[in-house]
């Protein structure tokens, strides 16, 4: 009976992933996955609920309550932090289980190594995720890579150290746990903010791998299957994010990229514009493309974006959104913020889909994005972002960049787009800039 429930649950999980492939069916995917999860958890009790004491049930009820509370209260701009936190919880749970199994049982050799693996990955995911969350909240700056390099260099001897005290066999587990904890902290601490989409996706994958290996220890097939699905999902997103930056995962994890200005010199002055001029320019346009970036999330400018979109659409101007895969702090971050204010997902375009259209676009509005629209990625072989796929907004007839100053983006380099002949700068915070444009429209 239990086996049939579990089989049904596995099939449901896979169906859920299938349904997730389209925005119109994705909400049903969530219900399928919830049902699959409920069945899997139920079956773990094996119809014997009396084996568990009140502490067990209280823990489940209380943490379930907090889960609902957090999910209802979190704002969409905070999704990267929430996903980061949940990655940490998932990894931490698997790590804790592996630790208990290791200290409680005499495991067979193969299980022993899987359990060590699960513990190390789980604990690494936990501490790495906590650091990632602190970074996303702006509570932690980049740490110098030298510390990380020294730690990495000493890691092999540190791992082999317990073989010396093998005779005593005390605290070896705790020692490895501590190493994994420190490794997670140091590894993520050296990685800069705009590389967070890769880090979050990678930790997501690790939380799945930790769960999968926990499945091996307790001999649960459903745990292995679900863990493998999460691991695969995280790996795919990690690789997509790396490809979108033209960097390897190793290179991102090494850290030390960006955050400091390398070169921010311009050979000419940018053309500054006013909200009134932008409004006039837009009212003569037939097609407008908006390129949102992290600046939109920081300024909470989504509602203003929606208002401007409505204003333009009322004037029969076509409005599209061009979203770079690494815009924001996690995969799909911009899409969720736009969906939150009711912007149709049919109007959101990926880099591949929209790049050929820029040359026929009248006005592009760059809203808090920088490196992902930097033409140096196409032209300057010495640039740190050379080869990165970018949105070719410089090919449009007119470009308006809404940005507070000429400061460089994450890569720390000047963006020649800002001084391009077809570009104008509107120096303002994303939200304030848009609101002023909307106000000017009423006067036009």
């Amino acid at each position: 009976m239990i086996e049939i429930i579990l089989l049904f649950s596995s099939v449901l999980f896979i169906f859920a992933l299938k349904l997730f492939g389209r925005p119109s069916t994705a909400h049903r995917a969530n219900s399928f996955a919830m049902l699959a999860m409920a069945l899997a958890v139920f079956s773990a009790f094996n119809f014997d609920f009396s084996k568990y004491d009140p502490a067990f049930y209280i823990t489940i009820v209380v943490s379930g309550f907090f889960g609902v509370l957090i999910s209802k209260r979190v704002q969409m701009t905070q999704m990267p932090e929430l996903v980061g936190l949940f990655n940490g919880f998932g990894g931490g749970a698997s790590g804790a289980i592996a630790y208990v199994e290791l200290s409680n049982n005499s495991l067979v050799m193969s299980d022993f190594f899987v359990a060590i693996f699960s513990m190390v990955i789980g604990v690494f995911t936990f501490s790495g995720s906590i650091v990632a969350v602190l970074k996303l909240r702006g509570k932690l700056n980049n740490v110098n890579t030298t510390i990380a390099n020294i730690f990495s260099a000493f890691l092999p001897p540190l791992i082999l150290l317990p073989t010396i005290w093998k005779e005593m066999e005390i605290l070896t587990l705790e020692y490895f746990m501590l190493l994994a904890l420190i490794a997670g902290i140091i590894r993520v601490a050296v990685i800069g903010g705009a590389d967070m989409p890769v880090v979050i996706a990678f930790l997501n994958s690790l939380s799945g791998i930790a769960a999968m290996s926990a499945g091996f220890i307790v001999n649960s097939i459903i745990l292995i299957i679900a863990g493998a699905l999460v691991g695969a999902s995280g790996i795919i997103l990690t690789l997509l994010m790396c490809a979108a930056m033209n960097r390897t995962l190793i290179d991102v994890l090494k850290g030390g990229f960006g955050g400091t200005a390398i070169n921010n010199e311009y050979d000419k002055d940018p053309i500054s514009t006013s909200p009134e001029d932008v409004a006039i320019q837009l009212s003569y346009a037939e097609s407008v493309v908006i390129v949102p970036g992290y600046g939109m999330a920081v300024a909470q400018a989504q509602a203003a974006v929606k208002e401007l979109t409505n204003t333009l659409k009322d004037k029969n101007i076509e409005v599209k959104f061009a979203i770079h895969p690494v815009a924001g702090r996690m995969p799909g971050h911009m899409n969720v913020l736009l969906a939150e204010v009711d912007i149709d997902y049919e109007d959101m375009f990926t880099l591949e889909d929209i790049n050929s259209e820029f040359s026929s676009t009248d006005v592009v509005i760059v809203l808090g994005a920088n490196d992902v629209v930097n033409p140096l990625a196409r032209t300057d072989e010495d640039s740190p972002i050379y080869g990165m796929p970018i949105l070719d907004v410089d090919l449009a007839k007119q470009v308006i960049v809404i940005k507070r100053s000429m400061s460089p983006g994450y890569a720390g380099i000047a963006n020649p787009l800002f001084v391009n002949d077809n570009a104008k700068m509107l120096f303002a915070d994303a939200k304030e800039g848009l609101e002023n444009i909307i106000k000017s429209f009423e006067l036009v």
Binding site: F13, S63, G64, N104, I221, N335, A339
Partner: protein, 95 residues
């Protein structure tokens, strides 16, 4: 070599493969709910906690560690599915 062990490896491989194939088809627009959804699924490690809880024995420390694992995993499952539902609802109403 134990046949169940080999079958388990096969299942792991197949699950990873199916996951890879299906998830590759998910559009960029849904990547955030995909992540929060897979967060929720990684909470399935709750099963392992449920299985080992009755076998922990007398050690209060180990019992507390399992309870922490249960709390983390439950938070993941409930919070993850709930927030994913909230996000997907925003995509649904555009239809």
């Amino acid at each position: 070599m134990d046949i169940t062990f080999l079958l388990t490896i096969l299942v792991t491989f197949l699950a990873s493969f199916i996951g890879y194939e299906l998830i590759s088809k998910i559009p960029q627009t849904l990547h955030t709910p995909l992540m929060s959804g897979s967060n929720a699924i990684s909470g399935i490690t709750l099963i392992a906690a449920i299985l080992i809880y009755p076998e922990v024995g007398e050690s209060q420390l180990l019992k507390i560690i399992v309870l922490i694992a249960i709390a983390f995993a439950t938070l993941n499952i409930v919070g993850g599915f709930s927030v994913t539902g909230r996000i997907l609802e925003m995509f649904k109403r555009n239809d």
